[in-house]
Symmetry: C2
Subunit: 354 residues, 2 copies
């Protein structure tokens, strides 16, 4: 089974897969500046909550690397500025801020280090985040695989696969693990308008891995559920509130309603770093609104009449009561509410100690 | 308020608006042969259950007009052949068969007429169907307008407007009537993948009529409902079963589930000719599956990886219990089930007597 790594360090340079070019072209691009990383995140060249967390951490390192100064303290104002800029690239995924703040917290204790040591430490922390993400996804996959059985057909939305993390993914990780164990799992993938991450990315990585995948229009999912062909829904998350409400790609909420209507389990897979314990409930989550052009001019072609407006929220909020279980690197959590979620609070994977 | 007529007879020739070119180009095309009408229906140049019924009736007339013979009896085998061909153009909308069978039933009593009279009668019947459709939509609009109030915001899916009928529409007719009465109604229009009838046609005709319309991705509708901005959903129907189950554009079922979850009334507007009393329930309705290319290559651009399959049902079935009311030319029917539906059976508008 062949999986891809969305972010890599090669010979001291950061490379990402430019996901906007998939599935037509698999191209790695080198990121040399903070501006370039900011643009890559905002334009969804790198996307998916866990992946943009890691990408942003490398972005902070690049910013620090290229700054002048004798000590950590000299570099600090620059680090702060770069951090704020990268956090602002996309407002909904909490991993972005979480990853950057992990770096900041650690580096704040090393202001007396030489500039060279400080820069080396920033790189080392970013690499740790990347390695941790890979490990986290493997654990999510192993826990989640217990929810699958041979011959099962599942539905997924957007891309919560290897392309949304460093590798393997969150919602797709259980499918990869079950497949590696010899089970036959089939997937229906919502195409995921407006940016088609389902057909462009999920179908791409699943078919590369030899997993049978059928693409449907987002609006067809309830009918496919009604037909009895779907045994479970697996999605990722961009932010999970303290009470278990889930912000994820627009369309997730409708899927959760349809799954409930058909008694189909609805699973959300996400690393604990995606949980924002400072956000009480879904109604407190800032939902990114993206450009109208994504809706009105799909693939550069004007499909709507000139002058008509569009509303393009990138995410929606699924209330916790519609989530059958949350799959994290720590296991499977059922009965999701503020109390059960609190049990995960102490289990965030710390940035490794140096 | 400016509305369009999707099908017209001008100087003895049938013209339709080629809806595949909208909203970029408003072009009327002349239909000169049965093959051309078949292609126009199958390719959705003319679409919408009521409109394709009327279009098919004109198609039967064109077929009869161009056939050789001395009498109605001579033309009959040709009429039968043409009818079967046109009915096969699209399987789900019952109006197609209903309109053609209306013509057949009447013409079967006129086999002794001269060929010229028989042809004239076929044209006259098609024209009656067209005029009846216009009147039916006006009545649907007047009945449905009672469900609207000034300042209301509604959601619609696909195009059940003037472009789906001869003029005015079904689901949009109440909105047009309320607007004509001076009420301010705003509309959220689902773009309606894969063929974008919502952004291409609904937004086009509403904005032409000066009605504020906002386009959203289909998958955003549940989130917009959750936000509290939608006070009612209005959709059309391609076939309504005897028990009130509704086949309509793919995505309708998910909307109905989301509307129910938010206690938003879900209205289906359709002429009584859309009710198929020979189909007991939704599970007996044949759902047209259209080409995978509509999903995999939107607007001619390959978005999915080569070799990956798509499943592309054109319609889904909303169970009657999710329908708040059915709006027909006879009024508003609530409490929809086989019994209440039966009350509409005697009320089909007959093809006018000659």
């Amino acid at each position: 089974m062949q999986t891809l790594q969305s972010i890599e360090l090669r010979d001291g340079q950061v490379w990402i897969i430019d996901q906007t070019l998939l599935p037509g072209t698999l191209e790695h691009i080198r990121i040399d500046s903070v501006n370039q990383m900011f643009e890559a995140i905002q334009s969804l060249r790198v996307r998916g909550a866990p992946a943009i967390g890691v990408a942003a951490a490398f972005g902070v390192w690049i910013g620090v690397r290229d700054a002048a100064g004798q000590s950590g303290a000299d570099l600090w104002p620059h680090l702060e500025q770069v951090s704020e800029r990268l956090i602002s690239a996309r407002p909904t995924a909490v991993n972005l801020a979480w990853a950057i703040n992990s770096l900041r917290q650690d580096l704040a204790l090393h202001l007396d280090d030489s500039a060279s040591d400080f820069k080396g430490r920033a790189l080392s922390l970013a690499l740790d985040l990347m390695r941790n993400d890979v490990q986290t996804c493997i654990r999510i996959g192993e826990h989640g695989a217990a929810l699958l059985h041979d011959g099962m057909t599942v539905l997924t939305h957007c891309n919560a696969g290897g392309m949304a993390t460093v590798a393997l993914g969150t919602a797709l990780a259980p499918i990869y693990v079950a497949t590696q164990r010899g089970q036959h799992i089939e997937v229906f993938a919502d195409e995921t308008r407006p940016l088609m991450q389902g057909s462009r990315l999920t179908a791409y990585e699943l078919s590369r891995a030899g997993i049978p995948v059928t693409i449907i229009c987002d609006s067809a999912a309830p009918a496919v559920m009604q037909s009895g062909r779907i045994e479970a829904v697996f999605v990722g998350a961009d932010r999970v509130a303290a009470n278990g409400d889930v912000a994820n790609k627009i369309g997730t909420y409708g899927l959760a309603l349809a799954a409930r209507a058909h008694n189909i389990p609805f699973y959300v897979a996400a690393p604990i770093s995606t949980i924002d314990f400072n956000t009480a409930s879904g109604s407190d989550i800032v939902i990114e609104e993206r450009s109208e052009a994504e809706v009105l001019q799909p693939f550069g072609q004007q499909t709507a009449p000139e002058g008509v407006r569009a509303y393009n929220p990138a995410f929606d909020v699924t209330p916790a009561h519609l989530v059958t279980a949350l799959i994290t690197e720590q296991g499977i959590l059922r009965g999701i509410d503020a109390q059960s979620m609190a049990s995960l609070r102490s289990k965030r994977m710390p940035v490794a100690d140096h």
